[in-house]
Symmetry: C2
Subunit: 224 residues, 2 copies
DNA sequence: AGAAATATAATTGTATACAAATATACAATT
DNA sequence: AATTGTATATTTGTATACAATTATATTTCT
């Protein structure tokens, strides 16, 4: 029987409060619940999430390093806004790193990881056929994450994961039509085939195409 | 007259302790004073720097986001080591972003920034002639920082600055001979000329060459 | 009224106390 | 000797109290 636990709703997932707070605030900022330029008062966050200032401050430090807030000593934390151009830029930056990830991954992937990748791709084929968009969203992310992992570079992996989190929250309309699913599958197929053939530059090119396709889709969305 | 101040040697530069601690620990890790895999006990850091746990924990959060330590909940913080390959990789990753920075900078640079860049380059010419290596080290950094700023992307700027900090600490022997100074000047000249001509791809190519030159230099150092 | 000076409140920075989890030491058992 | 269980110590997580700074309100003076 539990005699005492720290209060608050955040203490449910096993993680320390400060970690949960970081994820929660990150979400709040990316989803626009906390507007750009607005000040994050520690006290207000404490009250909102019913926790003390210690974990709040730690979460703020993380957000600062993540580039989501600006911390001015003795003044406070302010939400940093992303302009449309910032988002455009992010797609370009991501592209460069996804291409590099694929290059390294092909050179460094283990047999086990290769099997995982193959399996994941087969799942993609299956759920594309099934037109299961929800499943596809997750498998999609998983496919890329596998490549990050196989790249064997912790930094790269971390940064690309961040881009995924960021950009996921900035997608505008989520046009996921069947035709889109098919296109993405073929783009991934090109990448996967290059992996099997150990064709480094072919894979990089295929990834570039895949990324350009995402950029083009964003442009379309912006026009709507 | 000061009646009371928080104790400790870190409280001299005006920044909060937590910030100073972050920089200090970052340096300690990058310079190898804290070995890879070793555990950072909060208490030990408190004693070493004569501060309380609060700022220490905040600094640790920042180091975690910076990728220098791994924080395992309820277990502690462990120094992450960089392998030689990690460093090699970092040069490649930096190259990709330096090239992108230069592209955007040319498209977005303001007249004022352009003047600053010109001035900086002229200083470089002067101190190269003077063979003043110390000065050159700083101006070198300044030249690149100006480009980051002109790129107009906060994220990119922050990441490239991090690479500079990281890689600076991993240079092995610091071979700065006169011949090297001259080479670097010419590489920078190519970049600067491309800026004046608003030659985006030319500048990217020049930057690529500059980065490849740095990579080659590292290879040389490794062989010694 | 407007500006400067001062007092007050609000907010951030730091230290410390306590809660909870983990690590360690040691005995009991097999 | 190895393993399990338990008590103890250490360490991390969180809350709170106080110091220092900044923001706001008030007063004072011209």
């Amino acid at each position: 029987m539990v005699l005492y636990k720290y209060p608050g709703a955040l203490k449910e997932n096993g993680l320390p409060i400060s970690n949960s707070l970081f994820f929660q605030l990150q979400k709040d900022i990316l989803q626009g619940k906390l507007r750009a330029g607005s000040k994050l008062t520690e006290q207000r966050i404490c009250e909102q999430y019913e926790v003390s200032r210690t974990p709040v401050r730690e979460a703020l430090r993380q957000l600062e390093m993540d580039g989501l807030i600006e911390n001015i000593p003795n003044r406070g934390a302010f939400v940093i806004g992303f302009t449309e151009r910032d988002i455009d830029d992010m797609y370009e930056l991501r592209k460069a790193y996804e291409m590099q990830a694929v290059r390294w991954a092909i050179e460094r992937i283990t047999d086990e990881e290769m099997e995982e990748l193959e399996e994941t791709f087969e799942f993609m084929e299956f759920y594309t056929m099934k037109k299961d968009i929800e499943k596809m969203l997750n498998i999609n992310i998983g496919f890329h994450q596998l490549i990050y992992k196989a790249s064997g570079n912790r930094m790269l992996r971390h940064m690309l994961s961040s881009y995924q989190i960021y950009l996921k929250n900035y997608r505008l309309h989520r046009i996921y039509e069947d035709s889109y699913l098919d296109t993405v599958l073929e783009e991934h197929r090109m990448i996967f085939e290059a992996f099997k053939a150990r064709d480094t530059e072919g894979a990089a090119k295929a990834m570039e195409k895949h990324m350009n396709s995402a950029i083009a889709r964003r442009m379309q969305e912006k026009e709507l």
